[in-house]
Amino acid sequence: MKIVVPVKLVPDLVEELVINDQGTGLDPMWLRYKLNELDEHAIEQAVLLKERAGAHVTVIALDIDGADDALFTASAKGVDQLVKLCGDFEQGLNNHALAGLIAKLLRQAPADLVLTGVQAHNDLDGALGALLAGFLKLPYVGYVSGVSLSNDSALVRKEYPGGLMAEIEVSLPAVLGIQAAERPLSYIAFSRIRQAMKTATLKEQFLPQVPPAVQVVGRMYKSESGARAMMLQGDVDTVAARLVEIFREAGVL
């Protein structure tokens, strides 16, 4: 069983986000990247499937600041192969283009199962899995929180709104968008990550050309505050009287 987990590094929201001078995207100079949390769950689920039934797990990441750390941490968790996609994408790579590139790699070296985080906040169309499945013409199930494998199919648990769950049988190969791994993310002691940095091999794959963006962002801006909030001052009676007045003006009383 070959499992491939393409992951994304996304802007870390701990840092303040700065919009570039053109007003079309984030200024990469101020960005710090972190592994998309749902991709961490996809890695955890892949390692769990490997532990249960044996599998060869590959994690693929773009060569963005922080990719090496994310990949070596994955190795310390039990991932077998680490692939870093290198090329000129300093200005970022939109999800359609990224999915196209990864689909090309997967056509050359097919996987039985592709797991990705079900969504990510780094771009429009953050759900890489659905795009990948589209390019590869493979079945796709998103919002998955449980996977059990048999020879040529997977039984997946999908979450629906309102607390509904469904069990869906998917023929393999397939792409799954992981909402949550079946167990909490495991903690990897830092000494183990350091060990992986010394022993694990990171395969660098150069991308010959980066396709142009299919979407163009017209304007990116921070949410603008309106002037609609009003703080009512005074004692309880004054505030209540004013509220009644406002409700009357609005026609709800």
């Binding site: 701990v14 972190k34 495991s186 903690y187 002691a189 830092f190 000494s191 183990r192």
Partner: protein, 401 residues
């Protein structure tokens, strides 16, 4: 027929026991009398499946693997109460408990909330997951301004290692501002590392994350090496412990003092500045890593007594027998876990003692304590009027700066 010798791989139990005996004073593990004093002195010994004495008994009986399968070792707050009480001088906190947590951590047996703090420390250099760029943001508004070494680019007499909570916790930031005002009033030439400072790593180490501790120490060492300073002072007893006792083994050697030691050395000058009288009964809580672990008991009390009007009273547990606030050894990041297991908070126990001593002010000298004791005071009967203040805050108030 020749017989090949049968070699048996040593068990986890034996390897672990042997590793403990190789630690400084580790041979004392062989001298354990099984008197149980450690387990009695431990604030959570009553609920651990394997308190320290039982852990040693398990090692001797060869079933330490069972200990590692339980998770109540995480109740240990690394407060040194067991170590101080042990008649055989066994390195219980530093050796047994910390090593056991390391094994739990390697096995992935880690409560989620602790995991978050450790991952944050790895990624951001502080357990709260705050942006390292904002590490000196607390100092805005302090006049004269706090020198940030990368900007000032000049030698200082004193490098102040501020620490995580003093940099990022809104309540403890007030303590940092107060201490900066005290240093300014004394005319000390000091600076801080700001964004270049990382967590001292000591609590992470005591929570079993030795590798992370070493990484953080290396980052701090790189920052120290960039600048010229006479000595390091710190407002954080955990940083004090790390810099004094742990960093030297990693080749990071700098003279370091806790801020109470530094100020006690400036007593004559300080006294002339302490003009405002504060009529109050004050009791002092000895932080574990200033008092019990490092023997600093007098300086904080001398500073408090120097403030006009203050009457210092002692709680029933004080100095060597001081009670832990519950924040050490990773306890700061295990509040939910601790509550789930014990349904008590050590900080409330301490606040009850402060009330019983008739104190109006509970004076502290560790950044973990203001939030812990202030939260506890909300829960303890008759403690609603108890004021929790760092010694630095009381001094700043008396100086009137």
């Amino acid at each position: 027929m020749t017989m090949a010798p049968v070699t048996q791989r040593p068990s986890f139990n034996d390897v672990f026991y042997a590793s403990l005996q190789k630690l400084p004073e580790g041979e004392n593990f062989l001298a354990c009398l099984q008197c149980g004093t450690c387990s009695g002195a431990c604030p959570f010994g009553y609920l651990m499946d394997f308190p320290p004495s039982k852990m040693i008994a398990s090692l001797r009986a060869g079933f330490f693997d069972r200990v590692i399968k339980t998770d109540l070792v995480w109740m240990c707050v690394s407060c040194y109460a067991c170590t101080r009480a042990c008649p055989a001088k066994i390195p219980l906190t530093q050796g047994l408990m910390t090593r056991a947590k390391e094994e739990l951590l390697l096995a992935g047996n880690v409560p989620t909330e602790l995991q978050d703090a450790l991952e944050n420390s790895q990624r951001y250099g502080n357990p709260m997951g705050e942006s390292p760029r904002r590490r000196a943001a607390w100092s805005r508004g302090v006049e004269p301004p706090v020198k940030i070494m990368s900007q000032a680019r000049q030698p200082v007499d004193v490098l102040w290692f501020v620490g995580d909570y003093a940099s990022f916790h809104p309540r403890v930031e007030q303590v940092s501002q107060a201490f900066a005002r005290v240093l300014n009033a004394l005319g000390v030439n000091y600076g801080v590392l700001g964004p270049e400072e990382n967590s001292d790593g000591d609590s992470q180490r005591l929570a079993g994350e030795r590798g992370l501790f070493e990484m953080l120490a290396e980052k701090n060492a790189q920052a120290f090496a960039r600048y010229s300073f006479g000595e390091i002072i710190t407002t954080d007893p955990h940083a004090f412990n790390a810099l004094k006792n742990e960093y030297p083994a990693l080749g990071i050697n700098y003279p370091v003092r806790h801020y109470t030691q530094f100020l006690a050395d400036h007593m004559a000058q300080l006294k002339s500045l302490l003009r405002r009288s504060m009529k109050a009964r004050v009791t002092y809580h000895d932080p574990c890593y200033l008092g019990r672990a490092n023997g600093v008991f007098d300086e904080p009390r001398r500073l408090l007594k120097a403030i006009p009007g203050i009457e210092l009273v002692e709680m029933s547990h004080s100095q060597e027998t001081s009670l832990c606030c519950g924040g050490g050894g990773g306890g700061m990041w295990l509040d939910g876990y601790t509550w789930e297991k014990a349904h008590v908070r050590l900080s409330e126990w301490r606040v009850r003692e402060a009330v019983a001593a008739g104190a109006e002010i509970l004076a502290i000298a560790c950044p973990y304590e203001a939030p812990r004791f202030e939260d506890a005071a909300k829960m303890v009967e008759k403690a609603s009027r108890l004021i929790v203040r760092d010694i630095a805050e009381l001094l700043a108030e008396s100086i009137g700066e």
